[in-house]
Symmetry: C2
Subunit: 247 residues, 2 copies
């Protein structure tokens, strides 16, 4: 499995992803799941991918091939709006799936990719879109400023508690908290954690970092969160029958 997350704030976008890929439980490898496309001065895109690794890798190859082609074909640079780029990526995803569908169905294997496309085209607001395997998409909103793909349930409660009205740096911190909860509770999601951050109207990657298990900041954050949760739990209201906290 995989867990990827994008958070949209007033001033930018944070993308975060684990790097674990597994085929069964006995072939576990590490892959980047965030792909940046700085393709022209007026635009930037990041694609986060979950689902079939074969499908998502081929989609990224197709997107890069279309950009390099000189025959005027549709590509990430030909979109005038972010939603057009999402539709184009959805069509590429469908084409990649169609290529292998017969063989995969024969083997009873799902080749479905789910993607998040985020970024900005000059003149439009920055945005994030979740592209379903069927090629259609949904967009994040003020009320739901985040999108998740893959193993999304473990990391959702903290997004629901803390995910609104954040600064971009706080959104990055929350993304790490959400990833870490998932990594602790599910073996198929694993460090290192990749983070990418965009500022609105900048059209280039503002920050890119990789947090390994041993990274000093990641250790400090994990410890502060764990110790803080333990101490908060110890301070919670008692049931009416409790006297000093023991039954």
């Amino acid at each position: 499995m995989t867990y990827c997350l994008a958070l949209r704030t007033a001033t930018g976008i944070v993308f975060a992803a684990d790097t674990r890929t597994n085929a069964g439980v006995d072939y576990i490898t590490s892959y980047e799941k965030l792909h940046v496309f700085e393709t022209a001065p007026d635009r930037i895109f990041v694609v986060a991918s979950a689902g079939s690794l074969a499908a998502t890798q081929e989609i990224i190859h197709w997107l890069r091939r279309d950009l390099a082609a000189t025959d005027g074909r549709e590509n990430l640079n030909s979109a005038n709006h972010l939603f057009e780029a999402a539709n184009y990526v959805g069509r590429v995803s469908r084409a990649v799936q169609a290529q292998h569908a017969a063989a995969l169905t024969e083997s009873g294997v799902s080749g479905e990719p789910t993607l998040i496309l985020g970024g900005q085209i000059n003149g439009e607001p920055h945005g994030i879109m979740l592209i379903y395997p069927q090629g259609n998409f949904i967009e994040a909103s003020e009320d739901t400023p985040y999108l998740q793909i893959g193993e999304s349930k473990y990391g959702k409660p903290m997004l629901d508690r803390l995910g609104r009205g954040l600064s971009l740096d706080d959104a990055a911190r929350l993304a790490v908290i959400s990833l870490e909860a998932t990594i602790r509770s599910n073996l198929t999601v694993g460090a290192p954690i990749d983070i990418m951050m965009l500022h609105a109207d900048a059209f280039c990657l503002a920050r890119q970092l990789r947090l390994t298990e041993d990274d000093a900041f990641y250790r400090e954050l994990r410890t502060a969160w764990q110790v803080g949760i333990e101490s908060l739990f110890a301070s919670l209201p008692r049931f009416d029958w409790e006297d000093g906290g023991q039954s």
Copy 2:
């Protein structure tokens, strides 16, 4: 869906469950999912149920009918060990499923129940067991002192963080925290929350409570947890590029 949870501590067991049942999204009702069997002075059992409501209700009817029968048939009182009771409940579950399997398969509907059986028989330690739809079971351990059925992912991170070495009252508090996270993030799990608590070697229910959304204690606990999490999040370590917390 449903979310039920059992936590075993050194001194007893806590069971917790939401009460929401839904058939699709337009028929949402409220049902108890914790069933207590105080059947003899030397034993007590609690059964928590998730999955097909029809199947779990019928299983509970069968367990009570077998207890009332006078023909010496197997029932919860005839088990000498907790694992024998689990095997018996598993067989009842299989029999109930077999009755309706053909018709359900025809309609493409799953009638699978998943159960937690917890309690104690005099002379044995208290324990909790998760009974799969196939009738086999797993038991909680020192390392993993909790079992979950139904919509289990949202509420797992806090169990993984805080679930070991607890007093019975702290286990009940943690169960409420785990349920509340799930209720916030998933519409198919809903209040009121039912809690049952057993003390080891007592063979009767120690406490039984129902927390509605408006319950004063539940409101106080929710608020303390939310405010505490917000304040903890605000105090977390900053990235190395941050100066005063804004990017």
